[in-house]
Subunit: 148 residues, 6 copies
């Protein structure tokens, strides 16, 4: 599989396709196109580093660009405050059991002011919702007219 | 299955066990124990009705009591504001595809001030998180040291 | 799509591929091969009818045969008693939100002796497990050495 | 984040909120309130140790108390025997992929008499149910009238 | 909630936020911005109608635009053929139990040549994968070195 | 638990039931029945080794036989080409977060010709489908008549 390990000249991808541990592309090794995205990430987030999500996505530049544009739009300033947006993200990631995302967005939430008490409440709500979601389908609950 | 349809004198349960469409227990037909819980729900929520989740759970009074105590504690006043708590609940319910809970907590969120723009942002975040959760496991992302 | 509605002579399949509402194959319209499976289902279960799961699978006879052989082996007599096997099945189906399976296996459980109290306990456990599963990943619990 | 590492005097929480690896609270370091719950866990389970689920939840004493009360009620003696309750718990935990819960409740099941053959049957049923749950929604099965 | 039913002048959204049954925006009632997206959908797909997914998303034009751009990029011509892309989409939608998406992408797959036999094989694989995924976590399988 | 570690004479199972890390049965230690299955796996796949999925399932020979017969039938030659079958398998495994299956079927896909670009497209589609599945239920989309 040595050919696979070299960067594919057309797509910029490295690493075995589908291999676990697809390699992150570090800034120094990135194409100008990828570096432009990295620069925008760091400028927008006011950090001096890029995390593994972006560095591994960078193996496929169209997806890197699309996902960064999406994250900027969806997680940027809006009608919901930044911390609330992270709490929603963590709620989904916990429900799905995604350790990477829980760690990543947990760190983001802390940076946006999450306190220990708020975190405990978040975890309690996520657990409770996962519980009552199953009660609802087990008992075949009919949606009350007042909810429509 | 006629014996099953009558209320079980010991547990207070009605309806076929495991049947879809297990019957809600209306206030007028409820035991004093169940009515006490209904009264507390209506007083706490300042409403004059009880929804199907509680009325069907009432077939098993220990569970009705436990779940109401839990919901009061977890969804009550705390470090997270009431609307944020509902948004977290909806995020989980959408991820799990629970139509009853989406309707129920959507109504609760609206009553607590949810605007159309906020709702659109919530849905966008829930979709995005479900997407990136899968990217993370497909690409076997390693948790960055900065996140620990 | 009229060609799709006719039975495909080679595979015996009817209905639009992928269409919702793929048609059940009734006994009277079934090939001898399919009827043989239906007969075995009814003999094994001591019933005089076949449910929609089997009648729709019958559109693809190899899958009908394989799934009936599997169900006979996995759900047949063994080290776990028949009711316990149905409770496990319901637990999974509730977790996944499969209404058809909840209804189907709920009926099977009732036929095997499930009482209302047992059903209430089952639903409570399924809800609780879905709750603590999320606590575990949210809090990144490390497996205790005593559990290995 | 040094302030976060110290125990929060108001809530008793330690560790970064949302950090992976939130620290377990050992008995020796626990408040009297938390020790009381630990004592009840050990007395009820007739063990001389407390597992990581409880020790990490202990960072938020209200949740520790609530979850222990819940587990005592839901997993305690009832209409379902203790081993069956653990099998249901494992079925859910396997479906959700929760390694901690599979290990924890696997150990509990073994302590309650689970044999290798029973375990193999449990795993086979959980796999099969996850399979047929998907057949059901893919084929849009209609619930048979006999199941209602 | 009458104010909520009217179109919000700033965001263009109609309907109760979070209400089930959020209303689809028909072409005739759409803003020029939304019509432009509808036109592109119909031109790209060579159809004369727009489905409910787009018409309901149209309540929040930024999301409508983003999702259409995404779908065009991800589901457009590429290294995977169009039918294969739909099969992957259906596999996910069946796993998650999304009836709308199963119907929508099932129709798309048929239009791209899906045969009844191919559909049956797809359903069988999705069921089997959901089964073996649970075997793997239940048995705590270690990843073979040959797979890395 | 030493008795549990020895092979159970009746079932051939080794290892603690339900223990994480149930032991794989190597060829040299396998019964003739199990070796026959291993031989068929290696002959069918033209390999000289058997992976952990089969070696751990071998603790329960009926399940080993059943699953190998199933995999041969479902993943064997058919109306879908071999690579497409693996892509469907990976799509499900990513959605469910099964690391073992992603690694195993990723390797199989590579052996059947998967390129880096195809893999990137697969991951993008799986992410997108998981996103739109949630949009659909959050917005309570009604299935368009054209899809039936």
């Amino acid at each position: 599989m040595t050919a696979m390990n070299a960067a594919n000249p057309m797509t910029g991808m490295t690493g075995s396709p589908g291999a676990i541990g697809t390699q992150p592309i570090e800034y120094a090794a990135a194409t100008p196109e990828v570096r432009a995205v990295y620069d925008d990430i760091m400028a927008t987030r006011r950090t001096d580093w890029v995390n593994n999500y972006w560095k591994v996505l960078a193996n496929h530049p169209p997806t890197l660009r699309r996902m960064w544009d999406t994250v900027k739009q969806v997680m940027g300033p809006g009608a919901l405050d930044p911390l609330t947006k992270e709490l929603i993200y963590i709620a989904v990631s916990v429900t799905n059991g995604c350790r990477y995302c829980i760690a990543s967005h947990g760190a983001a939430a802390r940076a946006k002011g999450l306190t220990p008490e708020q975190h405990a409440e978040l975890v309690a709500i996520v657990g409770l919702a996962n519980e009552t979601n199953r009660h609802a389908v087990a008992l075949d609950l009919q949606i009350d007219p007042q909810f429509r």
